[in-house]
């Protein structure tokens, strides 16, 4: 496994897309702070050129990150089916298990590093360019990140599962979006009629993300579960990750490599 991880890290480090993705996302977030800064320069009374507004905005945008995770998983997966590169590994006796879990680990680690770097760039530029207001906003950011992290990892696990099972990238993205977005929304509607479906719907990651409320008055995070909220978010996230990891590996273990 260690050798497989080393080789994947080598490949990612030699792929421009790995850097371009982080740079583009960081650039867009930094630009948003630059715009606030310029507006403040233009109009001294502009009220939103502050760290609390900028970081608060970031905390409210996790849904985008949710969807971007599908893309991250995709480019780390590296179009293995179309490149027909799995066969070089399998022919050498590298087990399908090592390949599946190796890819998953690398995707999750890359996603977390990218997340830290991108958020870091945003926070740094906010503190450099904008007025420092409400220092508690950093606590809010860190707490909310801790709550949503298992949900992001769930998206990676689902996308990885479908990239392995479905040979076309479009098909894999479609299936992932179906599970990540369409299923919770549909369950949400059906939950209005059937109580059991509502219970399932409530713990689906997209709905758990939607249930997060950020209070900017006292800078507190309100989760779906009032008691043991963070732990329950992690348990729900990890349990659902497990389902898709088992499902994806189960299919891949029997899959023909072309």
């Amino acid at each position: 496994m260690l050798n497989y991880l080393k080789s994947e890290v080598y490949r990612i480090l030699h792929n421009k897309s790995s850097y371009i993705f982080i740079l583009v996302c960081s650039f867009l977030l930094v630009i948003s702070n630059v715009v606030l800064f310029l507006l403040k320069m233009n109009e001294a009374t502009f009220p939103y050129a502050s760290t609390s507004f900028s970081l608060g905005n970031l905390c409210s945008s996790y849904a985008y990150v949710f969807l971007i995770c599908i893309m991250v998983s995709g480019f780390i997966f590296a179009n293995e089916h179309n490149n027909h590169t799995f066969k070089n590994s399998v022919s050498y006796g590298i087990s399908r298990g090592i390949i599946y879990f190796g890819k998953l680990i690398v995707q999750m680690v890359y996603a977390m590093i990218a997340f830290v770097l991108i958020i870091g760039a945003h926070v740094a530029s906010a503190y450099l360019l904008l007025e420092h207001t409400d220092p508690e906003i950093m606590d809010l950011l860190l707490h909310s990140c801790f709550a949503v992290l298992p949900l992001f990892l769930f998206v990676i696990a689902v996308a990885n599962c479908f990239y392995f099972i479905v040979e076309s990238t479009g098909g894999a993205v479609g299936a992932s979006v179906g599970i990540i977005l369409a299923l919770p929304i549909t369950c949400g509607f059906l939950g209005m009629k059937f109580d059991i479906i509502k219970k399932i719907s409530d713990v689906l990651p997209w709905n758990l993300l939607g249930a997060i409320q950020l209070n900017f008055d006292d800078f507190s995070v309100h989760l779906f579960w009032v008691k043991n909220g963070y732990m329950n978010y992690w348990i729900a996230g990890l349990a659902q990750i497990l389902i898709f990891v088992i499902l994806g590996y189960g299919f891949f273990a029997k899959k023909e490599i072309k």
Partner: protein, 307 residues
């Protein structure tokens, strides 16, 4: 006696109702160059894909270096180098980067093996050229480099001459002979062109519609493809007796059509005709014939329409 390094027993692959490989039994001994010959779609690639675990057998068993699937066959695959179908690599990496990626993955110690193997296949000067810009011949060479990088004991090559120019084919053939002679690497090579293997293989297997039709050594094949004299006579049994007693012939065959195929006295047809005439046997025709490798293969698979 040479060690058997690959055995398949009743190896079968079924896709719903289609049997791509049907009860194939074969043995590959150390040092052999085994030519697996069959037309397109005969089952050669599926057979090789089962050995390399890209696809799973429906029935039967593979034994590699003495171990079966129950005894960690996968571990033995690390002693194999393989190119199955077209060589495939990451398009955005260079030749060296692609090989370095697999070197790390396979845990092969020492970075210099990458440069050495690129030199061996003639790709040492590709520099920063990405794999996606490689010609077909360069891709084949890189595939071969990957297959050789782990210093394999067994090399599995699926139609490796595809995309190579005539010079490339000769170079590849010489390289394979060198690997076999100098490094005692056993080679299983598939092709749909029998003549391509004719100066290379030491053993042949002919496969068609998933079934192994015939397996024979290069010497046996050469014998079967030898020139022979075809005799059409009215009294076959008597002629055979005369050939044996008067001329001491032992190398002949009587075909189901009652023709005699004689592998001796090819340069003395008059002696044969004289023998027949003086003993009252009507000699309807006497022709010297030979079978080339293509004709042999076509005959084996049952005629041109099937080949």
């Amino acid at each position: 006696m040479r060690e058997v390094i690959l055995t398949t027993k009743q190896l079968t692959k079924k896709y719903s109702n289609v049997c791509a490989v049907d009860n194939v039994n074969m043995e590959l001994k150390r040092g052999e160059i085994y030519g697996l010959v069959g037309k397109n779609g005969a089952g050669k690639t599926t057979f090789l894909r089962m050995i390399t675990s890209q696809t799973f057998e429906s029935e039967g068993e593979i034994t590699l270096f003495g171990l079966t699937a129950k005894e960690n066959l996968n571990e033995q695959r690390r002693r194999i180098g393989a190119i199955i179908e077209m060589p495939s690599f990451y398009p955005y990496l260079t030749a060296e980067q692609n090989l370095e990626y697999y070197r790390l993955q396979r845990g092969i110690p020492g970075k210099k093996c990458v440069k050495e193997v690129l030199q061996e296949v003639g790709l040492s000067d590709t520099g920063k050229k990405k794999f996606k810009t490689f010609s077909l011949g360069m891709k084949q060479r890189l595939g071969l480099a990957l297959a050789l990088m782990n210093k394999p004991e067994l090399l599995l090559l699926d139609e490796p001459t595809n995309g190579l120019d005539p010079f490339g084919i000769v170079e590849l053939r010489n390289l394979l002979i060198k690997l076999s002679v100098e490094k005692n690497i056993t080679i299983l090579i598939s092709s749909h062109i029998l003549t391509e293997l004719s100066n290379l293989a030491t053993y042949y297997g002919f496969i068609d519609k998933g079934r192994m039709l015939r397996q024979l050594s290069a010497e046996e094949l050469a014998k079967e493809c030898n020139k022979y004299m075809e005799l059409k006579v009215d009294k076959v049994e008597e002629m055979v007796v005369l050939l044996e007693t008067k001329l001491g012939c032992t190398s002949y065959k009587v075909t189901p059509e009652k023709d005699i195929q004689l592998y001796e006295y090819l340069d003395q047809p008059s002696k044969i005709s004289q023998l027949a005439v003086t003993n009252g046997i009507a000699l309807n025709s006497i022709t010297v014939k030979d079978i080339n490798l293509e004709s042999y293969f076509i005959q084996l698979v049952g005629g041109v329409s099937n080949a």
